[in-house]
Every structure is written in C-alpha cells, then in structure tokens.
C-alpha cells in the first residue's frame, strides 16, 4: 500500500531532472517556474491524500484487530461460562459445592459395627464482594427417619460480612470457635478413625449454635472470635443429666431463654504453630428449669513442623450450684465439674516410592464427666494408629484402641476407616 506514493514521487523527481537537464542551457522564465511549482504542488496534494487514505486504512485495521480481540475474549468468556454450566448444573461462578464423608468399621468390646458415619455437602455462595453464605448439610449414619439410627443435620448456615480487610461479622447457625476439631473436622485433617474422646465428650464436638459473631485480627497472627449465641439445654434428670454433650439443642426450635457468650484468642504467628484459648459463659444451662450458669475454659496447642506434629488440649466446665445438680439425679453427682485433656504426637511423610503420604500417631485421652464427685469416674483411652493419604483429599485409617475406665466398663479393640473431601 505504501509503494504507490513512493513510485509516483520517484517518477516526478525523474521528470523534473530530465526537464532541468534539458533546460540547463537556459534559465527558466518566472512563468515556467510558476508552472513547475504548480505541478509540484499538485503532486504533493495527491501524495498527501494517498498517505491520509493509507493512514486511515491502518487505523481501521487496528480498530478491527482490537474488535476481533475483544470478540475472542467475549467468546472465551461465554465458552468458559458454558463449560462451567455443563460441569456444575445450576451453579454460577460465585456458587461452589464441596463435601466430605467417612466410613467406619469398629471392632470393639462394645460391639462390631460398619457405619457410613458422615456424608456432608457444603454449599457456599458469594453474593457480592464481602458478603458470603456458607452451609454444611450432614447425613449421619446413612439413613434418617422414624426408627432409623441416622439424622439429617444442618451444621452450618450463616451469612458473613467482611468489615474491611481484617474483621468480619457473621449471623446464622455456625460452629462454635472452640477446640481443634470443632471447626476443622474433615477426615483427612486428623488422625484416628473416630474423633478424640475429649473433644467429643467435654467440648462437645461437633457443636454449633445460632446467633451472631465477630472475628478478626488484632495483630499479624493474633486472631480473635466473639459470639453471642443460643445456649445449651442439658437434661436435668436421668442418666445423662447435666452431661454437656446431651445439652446441644442444634438450633432446632431451641429454647433461647438463656444465651451463651464466647470469646477466643488464637495465635498462629509462625507456620505450623497454633496456640489458642476459648472461654464461654452460659447464663443458664437448663434454660430456666433450675438456673445453673456455667463457664467453659479450653486451651490447646496444634503444632506441625516438617514431618513432626503435636496436638495437646485441655478443656473444663465449671457449673455453679453443685448441690442442686447432685440432687437432680443420682447420675448427675459430680457433674458440676467436667474436665478432659489429651496429647497426640505424630509423624508424617513419604515412604519410598509409594505414592502419597503415611502418618503414624499415638493419642492419650483422659476425661471425666463427673469430676466433682468423690468417687473415681475418670476414663482413659489410648489410640495408636496410622493414616495413609494416597492423595491429599483421600485417607485410609487404622488404629488400635484401649479404653480403661474406672467403672470397669472398658472398651478395647480396633477401628478401620476411609475418608474423603472435595
């Protein structure tokens, strides 16, 4: 496109040279000079027009290239959306689905059992920047309904609002910020087929309540949680009177006469180290029946540096009015104080060329739901076992259990398990 004007310029210059040579003997008259200048001017104007046309065409081509790129981007976006819709029907880019599950085989003195213990689905959605929804729906023991051993439970359903970069508020049904397993209990994140006895019987994991809360950071690595929620409602008669685990209302038409106030401080200032403490005040564990306030204190360390890991936890419930509790039912004697602790060293790594990773652990639990009683009611349990993760999200577990109880009701044997998470 640019050669044509150049060629014309060369032709014009050559003509001019021939003309000049031929007239060398005579100086052109002013009229001849005027004519030459006019011709040159005309040629220049022609060339300028051609250059402008060329430039205009180049601009048009640039615009077309940009438009084409934009169309390719849009087509790419649409293809990606179509691909997403095909793989996740009904979902959008801001809605995500996940889940986990675990199958257990228990061979214990208390009985042999094969159980699909948990099947859980997560649904998360981001409404807009800084406003999100989280949920966790669980089917326990495979079948739920009249006469069935299982339950369908909504463990989480809350909306969270970011308050700037370092704080967030949440409202709804959420897991209590206490212990190691209560909030993070996917089977591939902990050792042992069954969750440890202390967090199960003392804290009591898995524990969720309805209400509102705040979380955030006070300094790099120093986090806090605050929550005002529905409270526990323990039975006041029968063998489970004042047992903490039996007081969970699960936010199912829960009695909200008396609330609970929870605070946690957590330090995670270096990789692989978590130190945390939780305190909770329950206005009335019996929701108006007897009037028993209570406090929970829990502290733990969760460390994993390189191949080595160590978990240690202590939890304690103190209830007021010990005499009233003891008189409510013979089984409740000493339940004004309920305590427990455990320690769990572990090692994890690859073994030769076998794909995936292996881990080995030893855990020692001690707990007592009647620690305020004068007679011995303590329970102790040791678990020794291995986890094998062929890939990070799938785990196979085996452990040997030895439970030594003061009441002589020991429960020994072994457990096998498989878990997954996606």
């Amino acid at each position: 496109m640019l050669l044509a004007p150049k060629r014309q310029l060369l032709a014009f210059t050559a003509t001019l040279l021939v003309f000049s040579t031929g007239q060398a003997a005579e100086t052109p008259t002013p009229e001849q000079m005027w004519e030459i200048i006019q011709q040159q001017q005309q040629q220049i104007e022609v060339l300028q027009r051609q250059l402008e046309q060329t430039s205009q065409r180049t601009d048009e081509i640039d615009v077309k290239v940009a438009e084409t790129e934009e169309k390719v981007e849009l087509a790419g976006d649409m293809l990606e959306e179509a691909a997403l819709a095909a793989t996740n029907p009904g979902a959008s880019a801001s809605t995500n689905i996940g889940g986990y599950g675990e199958l257990h085989y228990n061979n214990l003195d208390s009985g042999d059992m094969l159980d699909l213990h948990r099947f859980v689905l997560f649904f998360g959605h981001e409404f807009q920047d800084g406003v999100r929804f989280f949920s966790e729906l669980e089917l326990e023991h495979a079948i739920a309904g009249d006469g069935a051993g299982g339950e369908i439970e909504l463990e989480q359903a809350f909306v969270e609002f970011d308050l700037g970069a370092y704080h967030a508020a949440k409202v709804g049904l959420f897991l209590m910020p206490v212990g190691i397993l209560n909030e993070t209990h996917e089977p591939n994140t902990f050792y042992g087929v069954e969750r440890n006895a202390v967090e199960k019987n003392i804290i009591p994991t898995t524990w969720w309540e309805g209400g509102g809360g705040l979380r955030g950071e006070l300094a790099p690595g120093l986090g806090y949680d605050l929550a005002v929620t529905s409270g526990l409602n323990v039975p006041v008669a029968g063998s489970n009177a004042f047992k903490i685990r039996n007081g969970r209302q699960k936010v199912s038409e829960a009695n909200a006469d008396s609330l609970a106030y929870t605070g946690r401080i957590k330090w995670t200032g270096m990789p692989g180290v978590e130190l945390a403490m939780t305190a909770q005040y329950q206005e009335d564990l019996t929701q108006g029946a007897l009037g028993v306030s209570a406090t929970l204190f829990e502290a733990h360390a969760d460390i994993r540096r390189g191949a080595f890991g160590l978990r240690a936890l202590y939890a304690r419930w103190d209830m007021d009015n010990a005499e009233l509790i003891a008189s409510s039912d013979p089984a409740a004697d000493g339940r004004d104080l309920q305590t427990g602790w455990y320690i769990e060293p572990s090692i994890r790594g690859r073994v030769g060329d076998i794909p995936g990773e292996f881990g080995a652990f030893l855990r020692y639990d001690v707990w007592d739901n009647n620690a305020g009683a004068s007679n011995l009611t303590e329970k102790r349990q040791s678990n020794l076992g291995v986890n094998y993760w062929p890939i990070a999200n799938v785990v196979f577990k085996f452990d040997i259990q030895s439970q030594d109880n003061e009441n002589g009701d020991d429960d020994n044997g072994f457990n096998l398990g498989m878990g997954y998470q996606f």
Binding site: G76, L79, E80, A83, L84, N96, G98, F122, F123, G124, E126, Q128, D129, G130, V131, R132, F134, F158, E160, F161, D162, L163, A165, A168, A169, V171, I180, E183, T184, E186, T189, G211, G212, E217, P220, G221, G223, V228, S258, L259, K266, T268, M270, P271, G272, V273, E274, D284, G288, A289, L290, G291, I303, R304, R305, G306, S328, I391, A392, N393
Partner: protein
C-alpha cells in the same frame, strides 16, 4: 426442683442485650460490608514490574496443559485461559483456587523458573485467612518444581487453615508449571 426465676435486673439486661445484638447484626453489618481485599490484583501486577506493567497476555489451556494443571489442582481448571503478565524471564500470575468453599485470589511472581513472591490478594473463606501473612507466603520464595511435580521444599502449614494452605500451594505449583510454557523453557 422449683421453677427458677432470676433477678429482674438480669432479665431486663438480657432482653436489652438481645435487642442490641439483633439491631447491630441485622441492620448495621450489611451496610458496612467491604471485601477482605489485601491488595488489588492490578496493584500487585504493577508493583511486580516496578510501576510499569506490560500488557496482559493469555495462555490458552490446550488439552495437554489442561491435563497437567488438573493433576496439580486435583480437579479440572474452571477456565479455558489463564491471564499472565511477562517481561523477559519474569512472569506474574493471578489465579483463584477454592480452599473449602470459596475462591482465594492469589498473585504469584515467577522469575527464572523459581517463585519470587506469593501474595494472597482476596480472601473469601470463613477460616484460614492466616495464609495471607508474610511468615507463611515467604516460605515459597526461591521454590521451584521437582520432576515429580512437587515443590523442592517443605511448606509448613497453618493449623486450622489446612485447606487454605493447600489451595495456595497448588496455585504456586500451577504457576511454576505454566511459566516454562510462556518462556519456552
């Protein structure tokens, strides 16, 4: 066992507290909602090129690349393309990966085939935001990919943030996987 009736003051205080909590949580917080954006992605890119970012480029995920990325992530990548910025042997990648339920947006700078910087830019999960701290992300500096697809160093995790840690580590490996594709190494 008679019916317990607490002091009237306690009951009144409880009711006032309940109302206050309800008013604050339901009405005030939605108006205050701002995302946990630690750094705007555009700012991260600009900073990585000392204020003069090149134009973005797009790497289309061919079936071969897609398969390799899928092996790292443990699932198929959602998009068909990955946007990146490049100047000489330095590439910058902005990518999303879900920890547990929602995506974590992470910026990764790869220089001469090794991680130069990892930064969590936007965090949307309800737990595990400790991964944004330098004490965690600095562990990636200098990391490169081994033949078996693993990083050449141990990354210590954060308790209670296992899934967020795993998401960031996967993205670092994806950046190291894609970098040679655009650097013709």
């Amino acid at each position: 066992m008679g019916q317990y009736s607490g002091p009237a003051v306690k009951t009144t205080m409880t009711h006032i507290l309940k109302k206050l909590v309800l008013i604050v949580l339901v009405n005030l917080f939605p108006g205050m909602a701002q995302a946990a954006v630690y750094q705007e992605p555009a700012e991260f890119v600009s900073e990585s090129f000392h204020g003069n970012p090149p134009a973005p480029k797009v790497l289309w995920l061919t079936p071969e690349i897609r398969q390799e990325v899928e092996a790292v992530l443990g699932h198929a990548p959602k998009g068909m393309r990955v946007r990146y910025w490049q100047e000489q042997t330095q590439t910058v990648w902005i990518m999303d990966e879900i920890g547990k339920e929602l995506p974590i947006t992470t910026g990764i700078v790869v220089s001469n085939g090794a991680i130069d910087r990892v930064r969590v830019l936007v965090f949307r999960e309800s737990r595990g935001w400790e991964v944004r701290h330098d004490f965690f992300t600095n562990q990636f500096k200098g990391a490169s990919m081994q033949e078996d697809g693993r990083l050449n160093r141990q990354i210590d995790g954060i308790s209670g943030a296992t899934l967020s840690v795993r998401a960031v580590e996967k993205l670092a490996r994806v950046a190291l996987l894609l970098d040679p594709r655009v650097n013709n190494r």
